[in-house]
Symmetry: C2
C-alpha cells in the first residue's frame, strides 16, 4: 500500500495504455454527452470534426481509469476536491491508443486534517502519434502513513 | 436553433433535474473509476464517506447530459477546449436528485475563427437539499448566425 509519504514533487509515473473503441465512444456519449459528433457516425462526418470523436468527459474518464488501475488501487486514496485546467487539445477517435502519465507538482500535509496529505498533479494523455490530446491539474487526498 | 448571438452575459438557464441511482453509480465507476467507495457498498460503508458515492467524473457527466438535453441539442454547439475550476463540494449518493443551472460569464467572437463565438459559463449542480455539490467554469464554442 502506498501512502502520501511515498510520493515526491517531480515524480512522474507512466499509466500504461488504453485502446478507445467506437462502441465505447458511442456508449459513453449516449448516456452522458449525446451530441451528434459523439453518437452518430454519419452526422459526425459532416461536422467540423470530420468523423466520430470521443466526448471530452469520456477521455477524462479514461484517464481516471488508467490512474486507478496503475496507482490508486494500491494507494490510500481519499478522493479529490477538484480539477483545474482540464484541456482537450485534439480529438480522440475510434481506434486511438492513449498513453497516460502523471507528474507530482506539489505535496503538502493538510492543515485542517493532519492525518492526510494533498498532492497536486499534472495528468496527460497522448495518442499513438505522441500528440498530447488532454491534460489536467488535479488535487488528490491521501492518507499519511501511521508512525 | 440557437446560435452564439442568442446568449448574453448574465443569462442563467435552469437545466432540469436528474435522479442518481445506485446502479448508475456502480456502472459508471466500474468502467471509469473503480475505487472501493464508488463500486462496493460494503467497503464504502467503512470508508471516510460512510457509504457509496458517485465518482466526481460521473457527476460531471450528469451535468453534461443535462446541458445537452436542455440546451446543446438545439444549439449550434462546436465543442469545448476545456474546463477550469471543476469542484466537488459534497458527495453525491444513491437516490439524490440533482438540479442544474448554467450562467453565462463571458461572450466573445473568436479572433482566429470569426465564424464562431466563445461562451465562458459557470455550471452548478445542487442536490435535493439545495446544497451545491459541484461547480465548474467551461468554455464552449458556438456557430454565429449567418447574416
Amino acid at each position: 500500500m502506498r501512502f502520501f509519504e511515498d510520493f515526491s514533487v517531480g515524480d512522474s509515473i507512466e499509466l500504461g495504455s488504453y485502446q478507445v473503441t467506437q462502441s465505447s465512444i458511442v456508449e459513453f456519449a449516449r448516456a452522458y454527452d449525446p451530441q451528434p459528433f459523439h453518437v452518430d457516425a454519419e452526422q459526425a462526418r459532416s461536422s467540423i470534426y470530420g468523423g466520430l470523436i470521443a466526448s471530452g468527459w469520456h477521455t477524462a474518464g479514461i484517464y481516471m481509469r488508467m490512474l486507478v488501475d496503475t496507482l490508486l488501487r494500491e494507494t490510500a486514496s481519499l478522493g479529490s476536491p477538484g480539477i483545474d485546467e482540464l484541456r482537450w487539445y485534439l480529438p480522440v477517435r475510434p481506434g486511438d491508443t492513449l498513453r497516460g502519465r502523471i507528474t507530482v507538482l506539489e505535496a503538502r500535509v493538510s492543515q485542517s486534517k493532519p492525518d492526510r496529505g494533498l498532492l497536486r498533479t499534472r495528468g496527460e494523455l497522448f495518442n499513438q502519434d505522441e500528440q498530447l490530446v488532454m491534460s489536467l491539474v488535479a488535487v488528490n487526498f491521501f492518507s499519511r502513513r501511521r508512525t
